[in-house]
Symmetry: C2
């Protein structure tokens, strides 16, 4: 790992192989050194370090700092902090960093970024500070950023950048290349994977991968090598739809067109990868009743992200306990019921969670549409029946051995079987219903599914017990 | 939607905008028509349909067919089935399709695919059929596929393709472009986003994005515009590591080098996107005790994927019920305990699941290393304390109102508070410990965490009750 304060350090270079080869990037010793340099106010060492690191690693390094050192580091780095590193910070760290930076430093960063990242930085900023900064950037950057911010969050309009390469449909390969060699560097996107062919009204006609430009002779008409874009993304499209299209059609980038078919922007895979990852994480968290999580999340924010589900769960848990209280008489007579009823609902809950996780995954994959939904429901019912029979028989056997009571064992058998069937069915029907109602199945399903299983499990088990055992 | 048997249908084209604009692609009416054409054995209609559809949509269409129609469709399509569509099928459907196809059809497909996709098709095939097919493909394809299959599954070696563009480090932009225009089309990858610069020993020196070739004059030395590769992937690297690097450094493709630093392959983002999605899905399913799921999964496979966890859960649930049975005397005296004990463990279990989901997400994001782990443990403890205090007070209040019993209410208060603390801590410490032991925290944590919370909750609640209420 690099010693940031070694005066004989090698000259700064864009990538530091020692750092990037070390997966996860940042060793504790390196962080300690960096914290030391922050403490000493050793600006040159800090500047050199962030110059040598990849921006993504700089972001990681900063996030590993204790809050106080983080703020001081941002302050000391100032305009030497690469814009890309700020864009890579987690939401809360990005807000803190922007708070520390001067307007001038933020303005310089905005100038360096593609319009999608620039609007991302300005998104959560207070109205008047944003206006102040936008006033200082170039008119074209300002227009691009303002139009991006006009789209709803989590839409294609926010993901897309305004810089892309378009060429008239009648040009040749050579004309396109010559054009790119003559326009000012700043008018081209930093990286691009395809160019877009347009008619005189700027309506999208087709796409040519950049690799197509370098593999065909200069006199090849672009029209001869263009392909129709497999998808046309509209700016209002939900980012989850965009991510689906990128995955479905293995895209590296996609054109964004307005309702008249005019080319207005380009979305690249790096932004979509973040969306794919975020959406999957949201599902993981939502299934467990967490609305938000992140590195360095504050305790307050963690409490707020989790308490609503717990409060709802408190209500539902007491509903289940009311079901139990209906059978006070039989529990009073056969105390073993109190030992066994948690087994019934624990296993039922597990089976329901399994069915639910499978359904939520399948819905995210669009595997539960039409015919496939019916087949999946049948599969879940059969799986619940088989697993239910297996587990119920074993549980009944254990009860028989433990309590030497055939009737109690039979009650266990039937109650567990019924609870499993219910768990399997509700575990797939609840998310399917919720998605038809236009809600997110990962968020809304868990509590319904688990509560209904608890109530059903207690009711069937204790109800059958009071019919047969008293 | 297209009528596949309309004699006046528009001429076949690569992309059908009507189909691809319809998200999820395939309407029930379209499937019904296709099933009709399969039933009639109307080969020309089938061929035309798959020619018009994007291969990914063809794969979706085929997966929506009932099993019998699926097999017949594959049979009727034969060599007209695009290789890319087969590569896009889900695991089980791909195996079924390959089973239906003749050796000749599979051989033709292998010739069309990049080496990573080709080896993917051949991976699960019986030994002798694979040998038969490999004997019929070109020697260079065979070598590429065999060396890919020599790497472990889920490694970079399996993801990478053998076709890439490399140029000597001393060439100019013009020389590189001329080279690509003269080599046979088949020697270049289908799409590529960067070219690799190598020394005479084929050791990787740097990369140039293809967009860099078309924005710089022909006489620019490649060395002047090359960048050091932000990462060097080794063929043995786990695919999860590869996915992390692509996300961390916003890569569209990455070179793969052997231990001597020689360039051996290229990984492109489309393959990595599938890995990212798969790994996230595995975590969702594993947290709920499901080892595998998929569209058209058979009931048998679903039972096998879920029963191990249920069996383990049966054992742990009875362990918890033994804890309850230790307190038979007090339950017999105060039957209300039987109503309330499920509330304690239900809420504790929810808090534990929340903490666990947050930890599993953070581990996947590499956010729990070094300093950050300590901070996260502190946050989870504080969050559990605050949420625990909140929920325990409310629960105690409900108990007081319901049973008018101050002592019982106090038992509830203390037991729930303690269970929450335990849940919060075990929810983060268990996955952290499991990951240090080299195991997957998503798979192994759930059952430990939830069982320990159940046992702790029952023990504290009933233990305190027997000390104070009898």
């Amino acid at each position: 790992m690099n010693d940031t304060r070694d005066p004989g350090a090698s000259p700064p270079e864009l990538e530091n192989p020692e750092t990037t080869e070390n997966l996860g990037g940042i060793s504790p010793a390196f962080i300690a050194q960096f914290v030391g340099a922050v403490g000493d106010g050793d600006k040159p060492a800090l500047w050199r370090t962030v110059k040598e690191l990849h921006p993504a690693d700089t972001a990681d390094l900063l996030e590993h700092l204790p809050p106080e050192a983080f703020r001081k580091a941002i302050h000391l780095l100032g305009k030497h902090l690469p814009a890309e590193a700020v864009a890579e910070l987690s939401d809360s760290a990005r807000l803190d960093a922007l708070h520390e930076l001067t307007d001038a430093a933020v303005t310089a960063m905005i100038g360096h970024l593609d319009s999608d990242d620039a609007s991302f930085l300005l998104n959560d900023m207070e109205e008047d500070r944003r206006a102040r900064i936008l006033n200082k950037v170039s008119a074209s950057d300002r227009a691009a950023i303002e139009s991006a911010l006009a789209f709803d969050e989590e839409t294609a309009g926010r993901l897309m950048q305004r810089a892309f390469v378009a060429a008239p449909v009648f040009w040749s390969v050579g004309q396109a290349i010559d054009h790119m060699r003559t326009v000012p560097e700043d008018d081209l996107p930093e990286v691009f994977f395809e160019i877009y062919l347009v008619d005189p009204a700027f309506r999208l006609q087709g796409t040519v991968p950049v690799s197509g430009l370098v593999r065909h002779p200069r006199d090849t008409p672009l029209q001869a090598i263009m392909k129709e874009a497999p998808v046309q993304v509209h700016p209002e499209m939900d980012q989850e739809e965009v991510a689906y299209l990128f995955r479905q059609y293995n895209l590296a980038s996609a054109p964004v067109v307005d309702e008249a078919g005019r080319l207005t922007g380009m979305i690249t895979i790096d932004d979509v990868v973040d969306v794919i990852k975020e959406e999957a994480e949201e599902d993981i968290l939502a299934l467990s009743g967490v609305s938000e999580a992140g590195v360095n999340q504050s305790v307050f924010s963690a409490v707020r992200a989790r308490s609503p589900w717990l409060l709802l769960n408190l209500v539902t848990a007491f509903l289940a306990s009311i079901v139990v209280s209906l059978f006070a008489v039989v529990i009073d007579k056969v105390v073993a019921l109190a030992f066994l009823m948690p087994v019934v609902v624990a296993l039922g809950g597990s089976a329901g969670s399994q069915s639910l996780a499978v359904a939520v995954r399948a819905i995210a994959e669009r595997e539960l549409e039409g015919q496939l939904a019916r087949r999946a429901i049948r599969r879940e019912a059969l799986t619940a029946m088989i697993n239910g029979a297996l587990i119920a028989c074993l549980a009944a056997l254990i009860v028989l051995l433990w309590f030497q009571d055939v009737k109690l064992s039979l009650v266990m058998l039937v109650a567990m079987g019924a609870t499993f069937m219910w768990a399997g069915l509700i575990g797939i029907l609840a998310p399917l219903t919720i998605v038809r109602l236009g809600q997110d199945p990962a968020v809304a399903s868990s509590v319904f599914v688990l509560t209904s299983i608890d109530m059903m499990g207690f009711f069937v088990f204790l109800g059958m017990a009071s019919l047969t055992l008293v």
